[in-house]
Amino acid sequence: MLSNVVFTSVRELGKRVRSGALSPVALTTLFLERLETFGPRYHAVVTVTRDRALAQAQRAEAEIAAGHYRGPLHGIPYGAKDLLATSGGIPTTWGAAPFRHQIFDYDATVIQKLEAAGAILVGKLAMVELAGGMGYFQPHASFSGPCRNPWNPGTWSGGSSSGSGAAVSGGLVPFAIGSETFGSILGPANNCGVAGLRPTYGRVSRFGAMALCWTLDKLGPLCLTADDCGLVLDAIAGLDPADPTASHQTYAYDAERVGRRYKLGVPTGITDDVDEHVRRHFEQALDVLSEVATIDVISLPDLPYEAITRTILAAEAASAFEEFIDRGQAAELTAPEDRYGPYARTPILATDYIRALRLRGRVAKEIDVLFDGSSGFDALLGPSRHVPATGIDENFRGVLYGTASDILGAIGNGAGLPAISVPNGFTPQGLPTGIQFMGRAYAENTVLAIARTYQNLTDWHQRHPLELASE
């Protein structure tokens, strides 16, 4: 009954659950055991939510048996980044030692929506402390330990949605929820060889999620396939009175084929200063995509994208944690650089922060022109990260701000645009590399369709860590 379940897509698991071929209780028990067995090995899990999961699974099993089927997530286990509030005495640690015993008496809206869809919460997943907002630059920045990459435990899973990437990659959960302020979904998706979707800002309610940067934080899924990301987004998107920034734009996932050639744009210089394997894989991907798309090299408007988005991030994070910083509690964080990192952001002038917000408007308008009209691009693309996973004891970026250039990340996060990262080949050392597709605001279905098409043309997403696939 449980053969070929691990590393099976949510869509396929859902079909088996609906038909009665797969029991939600058995499925949940299997993934609870995998979380308990492998989670500690990879530092991927903070809390296994066994009691809540089994209660939800039993309810799902009874409902489906009675003919009340909620949809493709009904009876499917998942994990949530540990910055999403959960009730019932389950800690929500934000990955940080000072908050390791923090308890909320309510569920984040995303958790509520997934429960309404019948999904089963099996674990709270590891993350970089305070979602990386204190300026960390190496993997040992979480009270639960450095999250190891299932493809090579000597390398890092990426962050800050570290456990979300590792748990999906290792087959510990069928899907996970992560968050991105600047790179925290696409980075782990790249390192761990899974699909990660960063939705449009406001597409998914942030209520109940730790606030790092109010105008940059987004919640989104990490899954085995782009198609699964669409299924999950369909369940978690939508207006929420508890989050005034949640969008009024409705969303319904469209999994149909797009019957036309895509038009894709590659920014000039996007592979400058990237790892040679990442560059080669990206160039090979362009060859593959040329079967289904017209691809143009484009010049982006000359604006200081990284400085704009990083100024917003630095100022909002300094405010979100001002009292924490004022009390000197940063000293209790795990990473040495997080104990002093936030102080450097505190003297940013209000006029500089507002200047960044004004420049964000210019970025949003000038980039939108690229997507506009019948001649507009469907998506801009580039490598998901400039390097594959780095070593578990290695700095993954320079000590100072802006030393790792990420133009698409700066534009996409600054302007709130959706993007998806999917696997795009493996280095000779067996580490995944990723490709990202970034689209127009509210055009998740377009970037999902392009990513699905790419996954139909390649098999990178069908490869899984051997050690975990055989256990």
């Binding site: 002093y340 102080y343 003297p347 200047r355 917000l357």
Partner: protein, 70 residues
């Protein structure tokens, strides 16, 4: 985009501000690291200030007047 200036005129004042506000929380070694961090922030802000903005270019952030439902 105009060439950005490498430093802000107030960079040293920013470093002093941090030292005065947080002197009780940080060691001398940590303050040296904070100084380098402030220098990086200042370089980032200098890039922002190198771009000219027109009066009509408003901040891109949402504000919704609040009125409780009756």
């Amino acid at each position: 985009m105009a060439d950005s200036q490498s430093h802000l005129p107030e960079q040293e004042a920013m470093q002093v501000l941090v030292r005065r506000r947080y002197r009780q929380h940080l060691t001398a070694e940590q303050f040296e690291a904070v100084d380098r961090g402030v220098e990086a922030v200042a370089e980032m802000l200098a890039k922002l200030r190198s771009v000219s903005l027109a009066n009509h270019e408003e901040p891109f952030t949402s504000f919704i007047p609040f009125r409780r439902e009756d």
